[in-house]
């Protein structure tokens, strides 16, 4: 992300780019585990969406459809709170890789 210089910045310490944090990919923090979505077991209760601190649960056309791994930090709250008997979210091992991108 290009940083503006003092001559380019808006006066009054304004940031006019609402929501531009989306370029900060918190998924790069994930270390060793990630959630996996098992659609067949999902009852669409939206608890995973509710309890995800990093806005990483994908909702498309009114349905939970899985995860956005660009932001998922692997905290496990969604899997812990998924209420189905046969879990619709399981935490799986993930090999940690160093990602050069993300810290742009």
């Amino acid at each position: 992300m290009k940083k503006e210089t003092w001559t380019e910045l808006a006066i009054g310490a304004l940031n006019l780019q609402a929501g531009n944090s989306v370029s900060n990919l918190t998924g790069t923090w994930r270390s060793g585990r990630k959630p996996e979505f098992i659609e067949d077991n999902c009852i669409q209760c939206f608890f995973c969406w509710l309890y995800c601190p990093h806005f990483a649960v994908r909702v498309e056309e009114g349905k939970v459809t899985g995860f956005n791994y660009d932001y998922c930090t692997g905290c496990g709250l969604c899997a812990e709170e998924c209420p189905t008997k046969e879990k619709a979210i399981v935490m799986v091992k993930e090999e940690t890789k160093i990602i050069e991108e993300g810290k742009k």
């Binding site: 509710l50 806005f55 692997g74 709250l77």
Partner: protein
Amino acid sequence: MAKLKDLAQMEDRLVAGHGMCLGCGIPLIFKIILRATEDPLIIANATGCLEVCTTIFPRTAWNVSWIHSAFENAASTIAGVEAMYKALKNKGKIPADKKIKFLGVGGDGGTYDIGLQALSGAVERGHEFVYVCYDNNVYANTGGQRSSATPLGASATTAPSGSKSPGKIQGRKDLAQIMVAHKIPYVAQASPHRWQDLYNKAKKAFEAVGPAFLNVLCLCPTEWKYDESKGIKLAQLAADTCVWPLYEVENGRYKINYKPKQKKPVLEWLESQGRFRHLFKEENAWIIEKIQQDVDRDWEWLTRLAEISSRP
């Protein structure tokens, strides 16, 4: 009644890419609160984890008008904005039918401690705004110093447990009661694990005529020291042990919104977090006893207030 499915399809006013910790409770709280009004919203945010982690320059995770406030004056800042809005309306520069909502936000350090005077003044003057305190019991952003919301016996960096100290030796200040004493229209305590309750309370707060105050329990795996996937279970436990009662006070009348069928011993709460680990040493047994007594006393008091309030 709101449905999660519908809430999930509303636009996020706080978005991805913020830098709060794994399993942090702050986004869970504001995900709900920010959906409880559809009116345009202006927020003043005291410094603390939420403020710092959402606005690391040159980025912002806010999709609404948002003002960084100093640590001590979020309530004054938002009161000033609200006063200006009224003035502009009077001058006809904002259409008379335009509705804007105002929200002040701070952590427990920024609210119970350093921002208390600003908050007290702003609600006493009757500004129409909502103030939300997210109470994680500690000055989390600067490394876990004790606040007046830190509970008895918890270890904090400025009240550490050790051979000479059992952690914090004072109990918690009861901020919700202080706000009730201001005789404002709406005061409530909520928790993220009961989203419907939190949503209803935020809605009532936004719709109140006059100032409204919400105190919301905020999970903090980093400072409370627990497995970050277990946060919602902890919030439930806080309600079931009556460590964090869920109640509201509408125009002076108390209502308890959650009564555990069987009140659990505080022991279970204390066992669940590393910040209380040292309390299980023999010499600290008196603290656990005292915590239980305090919780019982406060719950009894609250129950009575609710009972009196239910009389015609």
